[in-house]
Symmetry: C2
Subunit: 142 residues, 2 copies
């Protein structure tokens, strides 16, 4: 069960909010979002809570409660969502410090960091090129 579907859940929730908004529904409760994603409402609250802290959605409490987008769907990229829900780096360095008396152990960490930074940058650039509006369009259109 430990596969990482947090980005999937968050993007799904946002696309559903975007569609609901387009159809005139002002907000959705976490129960309504959970029904589309097919998971527990608490999972949705946790995910949308992270998106709220990132400024991507806002929440209304009291009467007529629920979640709504804080920006236009075309102004939210998948990269924004990724940054909001994924905190850990793609690749980790050594758990234990490598042997500094070996020339490789001594210099490899900055070399690897350079490689990993380039790879993450490429990934981020690609994710930044797709918006929630794009995802919704592809979801409905294809």
């Amino acid at each position: 069960m430990a596969a990482n579907s947090r980005l999937t859940i968050a993007v799904h929730a946002l696309a559903w909010l975007a569609l609901a908004q387009r159809d005139g529904r002002r907000q959705l409760t976490s129960d309504q979002v959970a029904a589309s994603v097919n998971t527990n409402p608490v999972i949705i609250r946790r995910s949308l809570g992270e998106l709220r802290r990132a400024g991507l959605v806002s929440v209304r409490r009291g009467a007529n409660p629920g979640w709504s987008l804080a920006r236009r769907p075309e102004d939210i990229t998948v990269l924004d969502v990724y940054d909001a829900v994924e905190s850990r780096p793609l690749f980790a360095l050594h758990h234990a410090e490598p042997n500094l008396e070996c020339p490789v152990g001594q210099g490899i960490r900055p070399a690897l960091q350079t490689v990993y930074a380039g790879a993450e940058q490429a990934l981020r650039a690609e994710l930044g090129d797709t918006s929630i509006a794009d995802v919704l369009h592809e979801t409905l259109g294809a």
Copy 2:
């Protein structure tokens, strides 16, 4: 402890093999590699075993045993290593099938797959641009 350092360990091992080879040592045992990476020899055997199945290293048993590169360091890319040691995709889709009666739940999976495929492709292109020779050069040079 569950952070993913498999790529780090594998690249480190290969860089160390490349350097040893350049210095005239024909092969290294998993104990010797483990001493540089600072981990258990079994971890190294598991990692190098995957690289062997991918055709990146070869192993010699019996007398004078140990591991050596099966290709020149400039002909092994970090992408080759990534493919050898990382089997799981970067992002997972929903654990449970989304609600197919919701238009978003119905169409979002192929839309997400497109986004994820593009991101992985960008990552792979970047990893494919760096060889073990490059990593070793940066490790020793900088």
